[in-house]
């Protein structure tokens, strides 16, 4: 008896492989943007492996953390620096991949029925990943780590009534201190990655049940799957391996030659609770939201509400954009809004790093308003398109 038959009798492994791989048909009319999902899984694996190796020398203690990273891992452990650079560059590139993956979903309407749960689980993954990056960033206990954690936790202080007590509870201290480091450590290395893995599994399962969307947003009934698609394994993956190879070349080029973009020089100064560095800013992937926070410069509360809203509003896309036309490829009006939004996001990211004074403050406000305008224009655009469709044929 072959081993696979032995397994099949006990785990129904053939059925599983069919559902997840060989009989999951990926539509033919897709482009390279559909390869990012698998790249994200690859990136998650790289982060987990590099993270485990960092963990072997990292010491979660306010007195030891900085040296354990910057001395032990970087200088003493053989090849330790590779693992650190892979982990830090990996976290950064992860967000690049996530943003492209999400923008793809927005453009081609992949969040629309029946894929709402694919979108929602994906969005949860984005939030979890952000939390993972935020908690991980504190671990090296450098100046940037410290002050990022200090300012972001202070945001919770602004919540009415419970705020001031809540911050102390989150930090386990009046300021960011050793208890904050150890709890962030626990979240970063165990709890959040565990949730990430579980939600990733649900996300992938959900895609297989409803099927991949495609460039034209064309629904593909069961009977036509074979004709209009290719099996995920081995056909889709054989192409994906090529994309992975190109991506990894790019990734390791960054790791070896341009890692500095993910390693802020200020973070090589140990955390100093009494001295805020002269200029602090988040990692690039949070700059756009940070700029929304600062954008409403005339009112702190408005800024905070906008900040929270900006991070979660995209989650509600399935209910904001209800246009019967699925794919942006066939929606000229939506395309305009979409591209303005993409440029605005880049614009906010750039502004986020500039000082928030004078002209920049006003540009930040305008950029923030455009950010929200995109989401609020969607119900209107949907309506116009529905009308056009009803008056059909006239085009």
């Amino acid at each position: 008896m072959r081993f696979i038959d032995w397994l099949d009798e006990r785990l129904a492994i053939r059925q599983l492989i069919k559902v997840m791989m060989t009989e999951y048909y990926v539509p033919k009319n897709i482009n390279f943007l559909w390869s990012f999902g698998v790249l994200i899984v690859l990136m998650l694996v790289i982060l987990i492996i590099s993270g485990v190796f960092l963990l072997m020398y990292y010491k979660p203690d306010a007195n030891l953390a900085f040296d354990s990273v910057n001395k032990t891992i970087m200088m003493d452990v053989a090849y330790g620096w590779i693992f650190r650079h892979v982990h830090a560059v990996g976290a950064s590139i992860m967000f690049l991949l996530l943003y492209v993956h999400m923008a793809r979903g927005i453009y081609y309407g992949s969040f629309k029925p029946p894929r709402e749960l694919v979108w929602l689980t994906g969005y949860v993954l984005f939030v979890l990943m952000s939390a993972t990056a935020f908690t991980g960033y504190l671990l090296p206990w450098g100046q940037m780590s410290y002050w990022a954690a200090q300012t972001i936790t202070t945001l919770f202080e602004k919540i009415p009534f419970i705020g001031p007590d809540l911050v102390i509870w989150i930090r386990g201290h009046f300021i960011v201190e050793d208890p904050t480091l150890t709890r962030f450590f626990a979240l970063h290395v165990v709890f959040l990655p565990l949730l990430l893995i579980i939600v990733t599994a649900v996300h992938l399962y959900a895609v297989r049940i409803v099927g991949s969307n495609n460039e034209d947003g064309e629904p593909i009934p069961k009977e036509e799957k074979k004709k209009k698609g290719i099996p995920f394994w081995p056909v889709f993956m054989s192409k994906e391996f090529f994309v992975m190879a190109v991506f990894l070349t790019f990734f390791f080029f960054l790791v070896f030659f341009h890692y500095e973009f993910a390693m802020d020089p200020i973070n090589f100064i140990p955390a100093d609770k009494l001295q805020t560095p002269p200029h602090i800013y988040p990692e690039w992937y949070f700059l756009a939201y940070y700029e929304v926070l600062r954008g409403f410069f005339f009112s702190q509360n408005l800024g905070l509400i906008a900040f929270v809203l900006s991070m979660f509003i995209a989650m509600f896309l399935p209910w904001l954009d209800r246009s019967p036309i699925v794919s942006g490829k066939h929606r000229p009006l939506f395309q305009i809004a979409f591209w303005i939004f993409v440029f605005d996001f880049v614009f906010l990211t750039i502004l986020g790093k500039l000082p928030p004074t004078g002209l920049y403050a006003w540009l930040g406000l305008i950029g923030s308003i455009i950010f929200f305008a995109f989401f609020f224009s969607l119900p209107i655009i949907s309506r116009i398109e529905r009308k056009q469709l009803e008056n059909g044929g006239k085009k």
Partner: protein
């Protein structure tokens, strides 16, 4: 007849099962509730943190025009000996000459730097500014720097205890 009996029996079974289900559900809710509460409690500051009680400091060691920074509950406290050319603020001045404030920006918690030439605190994070009394004069900070609870014993200030001078300051 038989059928009806059986149905009745069934009904009885159902209600017995329901009863068990509800009791178990209630019991489980209590258990989960306590578990969550215990988890919540583990995140509270440890007794040793809460006990970082009071700090004493001799104000007379700060020369006119000088700023000293001491640490209280892990936070910096600015002690500035004001001079004539700095603005007046009787109800924010301690012992006649001193500005005593928690050196944590009321915007997002960065530590403002004293700029002796301009006689202001400038926050590096988002450009907030405070005058020599610790009152916000520019930028995003929503309110003046907080005054820590204090008590005076002659020249010595005790941080962390509410003395009559502090209460008077806060109330008016």
């Amino acid at each position: 007849m038989e059928k009806e009996e059986r149905m009745q029996e069934n009904n009885e079974n159902m209600s017995r099962r329901d009863f068990l289900l509800y009791t178990m559900g209630a019991w489980a809710t209590v258990g989960v509730g306590y578990a969550l509460y215990a988890m919540y409690k583990t995140w509270e500051p440890l007794p040793e943190v809460m006990a970082q009680a009071t700090v004493e400091f001799d104000l007379s060691t700060v020369k006119p025009g000088e700023l000293k920074v001491i640490s209280w509950r892990g936070k910096p406290v600015f002690i500035l000996h004001k001079t004539e050319d700095m603005n007046e603020c009787p109800n924010r001045t301690v012992a006649g000459h001193y500005t005593v404030v928690i050196g944590v920006c009321t915007h997002l918690g960065c530590i403002p730097n004293w700029e002796a030439d301009k006689k202001i605190w400038h926050c590096p994070c988002h450009g907030g500014e405070y005058d020599a009394c610790g009152v916000n004069i520019f930028g995003p900070p929503p309110r003046p720097l907080d005054i820590p609870p204090f008590k005076l014993k002659g020249n010595v200030i005790v941080l962390g205890e509410e003395g009559p001078e502090y209460k008077k300051m806060i109330s008016g």
